[in-house]
């Protein structure tokens, strides 16, 4: 204690006693009273007994416990295995100065270096970290750092470039690093072997980050459920089979789990990896902050401003003041009005979109198809409207990003998705304008071409092929009467259809003109319209296909059952098997005659059926082409591809390690020639991010292709075609999960959007030129955002 304060205290006590002398006499009387009644002796006896118990019982027990715990350490792997893990950023500025290594201590021997603070005392750094001095002037709340990095404090990890003579804590590391040396040499008193893991810090300002799992480009969380509720009743055979297969596999996985004999509990070091990846993502911003504040605690070699620099500084300050004033005028008077108008426009748009979406989604009954399930155009309109509804919400989330640390990486996929869809729509509109102006200019020609194609391929070609089939095609002797009947029937319908087409021919240029005009809303619109036009104008082929398939299917069924009769068997429906049956003679006779007749009529029906089935398949192929073009226009990962080329670190697809050769590092000259000094066995590993591979970028497309091939190229479809069963078109919902993969399953309501748009926080001022200069050691220093940073402030 300071002598002066001792003196003060003494004077105070003396004064108090003089003032209250009667209190002292009372105390004196109390002491005499206690002595006379034996209080003191009893207290002394008690004290003796207690110390005896302590000496005889507690001390030996404590000693035994220490011995035992030294024999069997409790936490395996974390404390005792002597493996030290140091994560070290390679792009830390390197210099010869003495420094303090600061970072995260995830467990006793597991550290991540964030910064090296130079020319400061370790003790002062420690106390400053405890008080939070080093994280002053943070642009955003500091608690967010701790929350994201999973630790409650930054700690001093050790010292760098400090001679061995300086005593340090045993868990601290000593790092030696010179400007020439890329990898530091690290030693620690408690570590027997060291892993140095070098990493390059991702720059949060450029939205680079690392992640253990590949970045998800699609919003793939809920569409499975979205599909399930429609699929449960109409679940098809192959889907059921697939599900069963999956369940079987799951059982196998469960069995595999039982194979491992010992279930290891992962040590804290092993569990720490996700946290460490987060800390790596934060390293850059945190280091900047620490370096900004380091002048608060230490004397760094620096110089005062020269006269010219002072002049420059005051000039910039004056200029910035004027700019700030102007900016304030704009933000206070002009901007709010524009913003309000924009928001109102947006909300009006949202309401209209809601009405349209309701119409498109309206179903007569829950099981019936809605408009968007039938028509490609309706679906295209729906996708665009959904996108328009989703953009404001996305924008709001992205704006929130600005009010947080740049190192928070959760919204980066959102950013990519948002700009991808914006860019795709812009592209779509640009292509659509070119396409649309072409169509409008040549509407007459296009309409002529379409009607010519229609008459040639859907009327004349069909007519000629039917008449070919009617007269013994390719030498096949068909049944003339049946062929003539069927052919006449179809020809009659085709003629009627041709007259229908004749009536719409005059208005075809107008339709084409409308389609061309619609393409100003994007090239996907005319594509969808053309796709719909194709299905409308070929509706007669569809109906022919249906009719002929039905006839063929019936005939085939009758033939099968008659064949069973011919063999004296029948199909038992109840048990789903073939039973033998006693038929009467007349039954057998009539059945056999009918079987023969139908069998000889079969080829005629088959050729007609094949003709229409091929036509139908061709149309499906065309529609598939249209749909592929549509999905490319709507969901091509253009932005992601561009990012992959421009900056692969923004699209992380995982991490990889690379074992470096440690030879050069061990043979690097040590600056002190202590012969006893040896490095613990050290392995140098570099940690690198892997960019997302192209396969997972186009994952959705692969999935869609898989689905289409599974649906149309399966043996089931071949069987359907052979037996004349109707080949069901692929459920639009299944096919277009790709289209919806970038949209949320449930769109936000109008009120939600209103709330979200209004909850946008006021943007922070971007220019903050006038900052209170930090006075460190009585000297003025640079405002911290004034150009130079570290490099400038060194003398």
């Amino acid at each position: 204690m300071h002598p002066f304060s001792v003196l003060t205290l003494g004077i105070f006590v003396a004064g108090y006693i003089t003032a209250r002398w009667d209190l002292v006499t009372r105390l004196y009387e109390l002491a005499i009273f206690a002595w006379e009644y034996g209080v003191v002796t009893r207290a002394a006896k008690g004290f003796c007994v207690l110390s005896l118990v302590f000496l005889v019982v507690f001390l030996p027990v404590q000693h035994l416990a220490t011995l035992e715990s030294n024999l069997h350490p409790r936490s395996p792997g974390s404390e005792d295995d002597g493996l030290m893990r140091v994560f070290w950023p390679t792009d830390l500025p390197r210099s010869d100065c003495k420094g303090v290594v600061v970072g995260w201590r995830n467990s006793a021997l597991d550290v991540l270096v964030v910064a090296i603070l130079e020319e400061v005392e370790p003790r002062r750094v420690e106390s400053a970290l405890k008080l939070g001095n080093l994280l002053r002037n943070a642009p955003h709340p500091v608690s967010r750092i701790y929350e994201q990095c999973g630790k409650s404090s930054i700690s001093v990890l050790g010292v760098s470039n400090t001679p061995d003579t300086v005593e340090v804590d045993s868990s601290w590391i000593r790092a030696t690093i010179t400007p020439k040396q890329r990898t530091p040499s690290v030693t620690c008193a408690r570590a027997s072997s060291i892993q140095i893991i070098l990493f390059e810090r991702p720059l949060p300002g450029r939205m680079q980050y690392m992640s253990l799992n590949p970045i998800a480009l699609a919003l793939g969380d809920k569409h499975d459920g979205f599909r399930q509720d429609f699929a449960d009743s109409t679940e098809e055979d192959d889907e059921k089979k697939e599900r069963l297969k999956k369940e079987n596999k799951q059982k196998l996985v469960e069995k595999l789990k039982q194979h491992s004999v010992i279930k290891r509990t992962p040590s804290p070091k092993e569990r720490a990896l996700p946290t460490i990846i987060n800390q790596i993502n934060w390293a850059w911003e945190l280091e900047k902050l620490l370096q900004q504040n380091v002048s608060r605690i230490g004397t760094r070699p620096k110089r005062a401003l020269s006269v010219s620099e002072r002049v420059v500084e005051s000039a910039t300050t004056a200029r910035d003041m004027i700019l700030v004033w102007l900016w304030d005028m704009i933000t206070i008077y002009v901007l709010p009005v524009i913003k309000k108008l924009f928001v109102l426009g947006l909300m009006a748009h949202r309401v209209v979109a809601e009405v349209l979406l309701r119409i498109l989604e309206w179903r007569l009954r829950p099981r019936y198809a809605a408009l968007k399930d039938i028509s490609a155009t309706a679906q295209q309109v729906e996708i665009r409207l959904q996108q328009f509804c989703y953009w404001p919400m996305q924008y709001v989330t992205l704006r929130m990003r600005k009010n947080d640390w740049a190192s928070v990486t959760t919204s980066h996929p959102d950013y990519i998705r948002f700009y991808n869809s914006l860019w795709l729509v812009a592209n779509d509109v640009i292509i659509g304008m070119a396409f649309g102006s072409y169509i409008i200019d040549n509407a007459g020609w296009v309409a002529d071409e379409i009607s010519r194609l229609l008459t040639t391929y859907t009327v004349e070609a069909l007519q000629s092929s039917i008449s070919w089939l009617m007269g013994w095609p390719a030498g096949l002797k068909l049944n003339t009467e049946l062929a003539a009947f069927l052919g006449d029937l179809f020809l009659w319908v085709i003629e009627y259809w041709a007259s229908c087409i004749e009536t719409i021919r005059p208005i075809l240029p107008r339709i084409v003109w409308i389609i061309g005009f619609s393409s100003f809303a994007g090239a996907s619109m005319p594509l969808a319209l053309f796709s719909d036009l194709l299905s409308i104008l070929t509706i007669h082929i569809y109906s022919f296909y249906l009719a002929s398939a039905r006839i063929f299917h019936w005939q085939l069924n009758i033939l099968t059952s008659l064949f069973h009769l011919f063999r004296g068997k029948k199909h038992n429906v109840l048990r789903n098997r073939i039973d033998s049956c006693d038929y009467g003679l007349d039954q057998l006779l009539v059945g056999t005659i009918l079987f023969t007749v139908l069998f000889f009529l079969l080829p005629t029906v088959v050729v007609f059926y094949l003709n229409f089935a091929i036509a139908r398949m061709t149309i499906i192929l065309f529609k598939a082409c249209f749909d592929t073009a549509l999905s490319c226009l709507n969901h091509f990962p253009l932005f992601a591809l561009m990012l992959r080329v421009k900056d692969p670190k923004r699209l992380p697809g995982g991490i990889r390690f690379e074992l470096r050769d440690t030879q050069d590092f061990l043979s690097a000259p040590c600056n002190d020639n202590n012969p006893l000094r040896q490095h613990p066995s050290t392995s140098v590993i570099s940690l690198q991010p892997i960019p997302l591979d192209f396969k997972s970028m186009f994952y959705q497309y692969f999935q869609m292709g898989n689905r289409i091939t599974k649906h149309y190229l399966s043996p089931r479809v071949a069987l359907c075609l052979l037996t004349g069963k109707f080949v069901p078109p692929l459920n639009r919902k299944n096919l277009y999960s790709l289209q919806y993969s970038m949209l949320p399953a449930k769109r936000a309501g109008v009120m939600e959007m209103w709330d979200a748009v209004n909850s946008l926080p006021a943007s922070k001022r971007k220019v903050m030129p006038v900052q209170v200069p930090i006075l460190a050691n009585g000297r003025a220093r640079f405002p911290s955002n004034y150009g130079g940073g570290r490099a400038r402030s060194y003398g």
């Binding site: 072997s193 892993q195 253990l212 194979h259 995982g654 202590n674 000094r677 040896q678 066995s681």
Partner: protein, 253 residues
């Protein structure tokens, strides 16, 4: 001569870190380097002849001497296109070039030229001689598998890999490492697998080379030791160095 049966090399700078590399590339001796260089030259010649073949078959070049590199006679207006065309033409009118050109123009029809040159170019550019696969085991972090893809050892003459495909499995996710057996044709292959938690399929290590049982067992033993066991097999050296370091520290203090 250029390849061997896959053999194992181990790098283990510390007891807790090990890299097992399995490669079909034999140790690089001067004759091998020369042979690899020869292969590289062959590839180069193949690509050149493809270019000459296409040039002669589809661009119908004149047979007179090439246009001058510097048409105006001044050295500063150097045009890269012109220069490349000049070189191409020089190659074309040389004797081997003429031979390729006759093959492409008079012997083969144009579509055959196109197909043949596509196949040749693909083989020359992308076919690889060696396969290298490795397993990196890091205690406390996990296991990483990598294999060389694409034109491995293309320019570096077997000295390293050109492009790698890697997969990292954190220790937390590793349920077990084991050796399994499978029938392949009429033989039984033993292979090293990693069982990953929450994944349907086990992950096979060295999927392309599928080493013999001896190698698989050795890798299995060392990988388990490196990943799990508290006193790894080479721990003695580590402890010794630790003691020495402590001594040094006390003396220094």
């Amino acid at each position: 001569m250029l390849t061997t049966t896959p053999y194992l090399t181990t790098r283990r700078p510390s007891p807790t870190t090990a890299e097992f590399t399995l490669t079909t590339c034999p140790p690089l001796t001067p004759p091998l380097r020369a042979a690899l260089f020869g292969v590289l030259c062959l590839r180069f010649i193949a690509v050149l002849s493809v270019i000459i073949g296409i040039y002669s078959a589809f661009f119908s070049p004149p047979s007179n001497p090439p246009p001058p590199v510097f048409p105006s006679g001044r050295y500063y207006d150097f045009d890269l296109n012109n220069f490349l065309l000049h070189i191409l033409h020089l190659l074309y009118i040389s004797a081997p070039g003429q031979w390729v050109a006759t093959l492409a123009t008079s012997v083969l029809p144009p579509y055959a030229v196109l197909g043949l040159s596509a196949v040749t170019a693909y083989i020359a550019l992308f076919a690889r001689i060696h396969t290298t696969e490795s397993l990196l085991v890091l205690r406390g972090l996990g296991i990483q598998m990598s294999s060389s893809v694409g034109g491995g050892n293309f320019f570096r003459l077997g000295g390293g890999t050109y492009m790698k495909r890697t997969r990292f499995i954190p220790t937390e996710k590793i349920q077990d490492i084991l050796i399994n057996e499978a029938f392949k044709g009429f033989e039984v292959r033993y292979y090293l697998v990693i069982v990953v938690e929450g994944e349907e399929d086990v992950v096979v290590c060295f999927p392309r080379l599928l080493p013999r049982r001896k190698i698989a067992e050795k890798v299995w033993r060392e990988a388990r030791g490196c990943l799990y066991e508290k006193d790894g097999p080479v721990m003695g050296a580590g402890a010794g160095s630790q003691a020495a370091w402590r001594g040094g520290n006390e003396k220094g203090g």
